[in-house]
Amino acid sequence: MALLSIKNLHVEAAGKPILRGLSLEVEAGEVCAVMGPNGSGKSTLANVLAGREGYTVTAGEITYRGKDLLALPPEERAREGIFLGFQHPVEIPGVANTYFLRAALNAIRKHRGEEELDAMDFLAMVKKKAKTLGLNPDLLGRPVNEGFSGGEKKRNEILQMSVLEPRLAVLDETDSGLDIDALREVAGAVQALRAPDRAIVVITHHQRLLDYLVPDRVHVLSGGSIVTSGDRTLAIELEKNGYGWAAGRTQEQVA
């Protein structure tokens, strides 16, 4: 059974249909890329998976580890192992990064029936991980994302992912706003988090990220549904021929 199974998903935002019959299966252990032009519904997919308000599912279903995902509030999804890497990480003045992350980790551990980590053990662990990610340790004590540069925010997302150890990570345009060096480092960090029991869904509209984080599968999202799927060579062809080509390819297949 797939880790995540999306069937015929229809989603509206502000009364406007965005996803129109999207189906997608994600297996444990795989890295898959969801690519598509602006406005194709990529971020909507990510947000619906994480449970953000403001989206109405009008048809279809999402099954995650055999459960009806749409019935769970966002925090339950996170505790069940879903992680959304935000396209625009939110600044939260007054809440220290480490305090926030420890509260999150302990909520997840508690849910799993594991013991909570005390502040000292947690700090040692998170410092080590920050170092591996090239994240300035000073940022740990600062309020969540407040005054962080674009790159720092994205690294902070990946730090959270590495601390929370999700089963399904959905990274929404984690590459946007990163320069080449930062992109390579962040991609490398995500690459290092690949694991047999973990699936990573990378949402992007550039194939650049995929040079460093090689996907097992590539899905093209256009007009609210997956129009074509393939292996990593699909991403390279897309880069060469554009999304119009991908949409045409589907029509050919259908014809």
Partner: protein, 445 residues
């Protein structure tokens, strides 16, 4: 426009007043005369009503109906161990502390009164009996309002705290004043008088507490005079019982180059009304007013402030922030006056409110009266919900909705402490605030 005091109430107050005068023996004649005048003044003017702009949103009728006077002297209605400043985690072993129960000094819980440094922190009753001759220089001289509550406070004035900081004295160790309202159906009239000498520096923490579930009225007046170059930090904390009311009047007079930093934490009470009047009487003063409030249940919290720039080159910064929920009400009225002489005034005011429920109400009214032309003045007020994006971000990481709410409320409120306190005192105030937030929103899991 005031509401006249009924004949029945006149009799009740008059007998309470007569009884108080009888009990308060050993007070100097001048004070008795001041008290009589204030009492007559109270009877003459009557209660403020919602027809007056300053009381538009605060109806004091429920208070006025009770004709509350001080309880008879005798044993205080509480056990000191149960409710002292230490319970709040305030006041370490080294600090000075004065405790007042129902308006009267309670010697049992005093600490560090006599010190060789010349600082006087003494009950007013003691200062009057010893007639040190200095209290009379300040008391009543700097009040700029004589509404019924201020008049009543003076009429029933028999005790309170008198603090005199000698010129040049500086200390970072706070002086704690704790006022506990305990006797059911009674009123207390705490008076605090602070006289900060030239270039002196001190921190005063004024705590008004209500004993559990007692219907009381705490009608407090605080007068603070800052001589040139004095720096006073003054924290007021009000946590009344759900059936109790607190009416506070704070008058600050600043002379040249003085710095007053005041904060107010209004944590609970059926009705809390804080009037602050800061007079920047001479040049180059700095006045920082900060207020934090939590209006839950049916709490009604009303902050009325006036910062009066009367001389050139003074700066004022005012930030009031609060969280209002259930059927709570919060009122902020911030008046800034810049007189013709007060050129190069720099005044900024901010009021931010978070409303958590549909039944909660906020009234925010900035009010600038500028009569000088070379000034910088700004004000801003916002009222809104908790940031939905931030809530989702926290929840998407596994933090439950309730805890996420609590975290954001904490962050919003604690930010307000950053500019008023540091070190140990900052931590103490944070503990008090967090404790109250946790009472309302649960402790983190």
């Amino acid at each position: 426009m005031n509401a006249a005091i009924s004949t029945t109430d006149r009799h009740a107050y008059a007998s309470g007043f007569a009884q108080a005068l009888e009990q308060d023996t050993g007070l100097p004649a001048w004070l008795t005369s001041v008290r009589r005048t204030a009492f007559d003044d109270f009877l003459d003017q009557g209660w403020p009503t919602t027809k007056q702009e300053d009381w538009r949103f605060t109806d004091v009728t429920p208070i006025t109906r009770l004709t509350m006077v001080p309880p008879p002297t005798g044993k205080p209605h509480f056990t000191p161990d149960h409710f002292t400043a230490d319970l709040l985690g305030l006041g370490g072993e080294d600090s000075r502390r004065l405790l007042f129960v129902d308006g009267r000094y309670h010697s049992g819980a005093a600490k560090g009164r006599s010190r060789p440094d010349g600082v006087l922190a003494t009950p007013i009753s003691g200062a009057l009996a010893e007639d040190t001759g200095t209290l009379g220089h300040v008391l009543g001289h700097h009040l700029r309002s004589q509404n019924a509550f201020v008049a009543l406070n003076t009429a029933f004035l028999s005790d309170g705290a008198f603090i005199r900081i000698p010129a040049g004295f500086t200390s970072d160790s706070p002086i704690y004043l704790v006022f506990l309202a305990s006797a059911e159906g009674s009123a207390s009239f705490p008076r605090t008088v602070v006289w900060a000498g030239e270039n002196s520096q001190a921190t005063i923490v004024e705590i008004h507490l209500g004993a559990d579930r007692r219907a009381t009225l705490s009608n407090a007046v605080t007068e603070i005079l800052l001589e040139p170059g004095a720096r006073i930090t003054h924290h007021g904390i009000q946590k009344a019982s759900p059936d109790a009311s607190h009416i506070g009047h704070l008058a600050v007079t600043q002379k040249a180059g003085s710095v007053y930093t005041g904060s107010s934490l209004a944590l609970a009470g059926r009705l809390i009304r804080n009037d602050v009047h800061a007079s920047l009487a001479e040049e180059n003063c700095t006045c920082n007013l900060n207020g934090l409030y939590l209006a839950s249940d049916t709490n009604h919290i009303d902050n009325h402030t006036t910062i009066d720039h009367r001389a050139p080159r003074s700066t004022s910064r005012e930030v009031y922030k609060g969280v209002v929920e259930d059927r709570g009400r919060a009122i902020f009225s911030g008046r800034i006056v810049v007189r013709p002489a007060a050129q190069q005034t720099d005044a900024r005011q901010t009021n931010r409110n978070i409303v958590l429920s549909d039944g909660a109400v906020v009234h925010s009214k900035p009010h600038l009266e500028i009569f000088a032309n070379d000034v910088k003045c700004s004000h801003g007020a916002t009222t809104g919900r908790l940031n939905a994006e931030a809530l989702f971000y926290l929840r998407s990481r596994g933090i439950g909705e309730k805890e996420a709410n609590q975290l954001l409320i904490r962050a919003f409120m604690l930010e307000g402490l950053d500019c008023v306190a540091e070190g140990v005192l900052r931590a103490q105030l944070e503990r008090v605030l967090v404790k109250r937030i946790e009472e309302l929103h649960g402790a983190p899991a």
